[in-house]
Symmetry: C2
Subunit: 350 residues, 2 copies
């Protein structure tokens, strides 16, 4: 199989973890006899510095012409005060690629429970997936305006927008433990009332999947008090932003968490959930696993290469079992390694 991949290293530790991920991808190519053509493009803060915009046209074109996009990380204090910000590039990219479904697994690795801020018995076995709507809602709806005296944002959703993301969640749940938790604020928001209606409609088409509705405030509580009660959690853009970040802390290993942003038929966008961490950039301290597991998600979701995806995940798992740890997941025991050494260990097990 031959695939074309747009590679956006981005800012901070982005380039380092991307480099590691491409080495592992090379391992996949060799072992399974695939060909992955990669085209690197500038994006985010780096693109602001070079071209004055976080998302140059050539970058966008390459992304749209590829079979998938790998993104390292964007942003940093350097660009926080500027007129154009790296995050604008990210939002524009999501919209332009129409990647409406952000899929984020939250998985507490056996043996790494001690890293969690939660008591081990609370998180042990937690294994769920957030499905966040990513191209609508209050991030993109108009009007959006501000003057000296007053500011306005708009939260709007159409039935179609809700339907496609909710269906995505039910499809995913069908291949997992068959439970969908839909999160809204239906006691206050009109968009949430429509959301709940659509969920009820879609649910009828999936009689084998259990459905529950949670109010967002209660969901924020249950994420901590009972994370093992979730399988697939589906919600709108802003709630998903807040809750999926909250949930990611449970694992105690942010650096290991991948994400996929999927479109209907076009390329998907794959990135670790960690930020650009400019403070540790270049020091060999970055954990490459979030990026590497994002490659696994790309193999699975964009290329339908399930065996290959599992091979990457297994290599990561075995490397962890063998005790290798970057600084962020280093505990009492184990072998402390650099980004590069961690990548080598994973590549070696491919």
């Amino acid at each position: 199989m031959k695939k074309r991949i747009a590679v956006l290293p981005g800012d901070g530790i982005g380039p380092e973890v991307i480099k590691g991920a491409l080495q592992v991808l090379d391992g996949v190519a060799t072992r399974f006899g695939h060909e992955f053509e990669t085209i690197e493009q500038v994006f985010g803060g780096a693109a602001i510095d070079q071209e004055g915009t976080p998302i140059p046209e050539a970058t966008l074109k390459t992304c749209n012409d590829s079979d998938a996009v790998l993104l390292g990380a964007v942003g940093g204090p350097k660009w926080d005060k500027g007129d154009v910000r790296p995050e604008q590039g990210l939002l524009a990219l999501r919209k332009a690629m129409n990647v409406y479904a952000n899929v984020r697994p939250v998985h507490v690795y056996p043996g790494l429970e001690h890293l969690s801020p939660l008591k081990s018995n609370k998180v042990k076995g937690a294994d769920f997936v957030f499905v966040r709507e990513l191209t609508g809602g209050i991030y993109f709806s108009e009007p959006k305006e501000r003057n000296e005296k007053r500011a306005v944002d708009t939260l709007s959703y159409t039935r179609e927008e809700i339907t496609r993301i909710v269906e995505k969640a039910y499809d995913l749940a069908s291949s997992r433990r068959r439970k969908v938790t839909s999160v809204d604020k239906a006691n206050v928001l009109e968009t949430s009332k429509l959301w709940r209606e659509v969920v009820e409609d879609v649910a009828k088409k999936y009689p084998n999947v259990e459905t529950e509705h949670l109010l967002v405030d209660y969901a924020a509580m249950r994420t901590i008090s009972n994370p093992t009660s979730f399988d697939v959690v589906v919600t709108e853009n802003m709630f998903g932003d807040i809750l999926s970040d909250e949930a990611s802390v449970l694992t105690g290993s942010l650096g290991m968490m991948p994400s996929a942003s999927l479109s209907e038929n076009g390329p998907g966008l794959y990135e670790p959930i960690h930020g650009s961490a400019p403070d540790i950039a270049g020091s060999g301290k970055a954990n490459p696993i979030g990026m590497i597991l994002s490659v696994a998600m790309m193999l699975r979701h964009s290329f339908k290469l399930e065996k290959e995806a599992e091979a990457v995940e297994l290599a990561v798992f075995e490397t962890l079992q063998a005790g290798y740890r970057t600084q962020d997941i280093f505990g009492e025991s184990g072998t402390l390694v650099t980004t590069k050494e961690m990548v080598n260990q994973i590549h070696f097990r491919m």
Copy 2:
């Protein structure tokens, strides 16, 4: 001192905890020589059953004519499918009383750390206060509409609305550990950009108070990963709803948490943060401490009776120290008591 208090027992365990709180308030009256006149009115689901509306006019009038309002809890599955819902009464009451500042302490009691889902070393010493904007934002802004195909909510804030809540937070921080954490989503929302501007302005008037800005997604993470880093957290209505509920779980003792909703000059509204818990209503299992500590907040904020407020808090603290526990906070040791017995123990220590 003579004060007039509107009492809204509400639904589920509301009436039981209100009864307990009034007994403790009686203790305050006797010990300190005050007179508290209480006028009970129907509210919430109970009012829907009796009068077809969650907030009858007589109830609203009594609230506005009083020096403070005590509220038990509202809602329950019984009214979830109806056209009028108890929560609408709560929102209407907040708006009518203009209680724009919701103040919610998050306090991990020494000796109760084991109740937290977090590791004890993570929560030990956590002691912070949420200041949530309560009468504006996406809860109340227009347009708010829905048809078959599309739904819209509006998030708007004026500079004045933001200024008064932010000032409230800085005032509170001045009497505490002098740190304000302002939470917004300034990288996406126009309202958040205005919010951040106002915080910067207000901060200048409080040179002794440290200011930090957190994005809401990051704040949701830090609430779990480092709760002791907060002193006063100020944020808009919806973010406050989500984050303050998230934070309340940290303590492991939801049933013990009070809240105050304050207006500029009118009466304040005091209620425990727990819900109406219809499943345990009438069984003697309800924890009355959240309601009793809400009475302490009323004494402090509405009546400026600081000594009296501290007396109530001390009585609660000593009762806990003596090992008395309602079911929700019962652990390995201690004496399991009913709602009534807990109230008696606290009253006895007044």
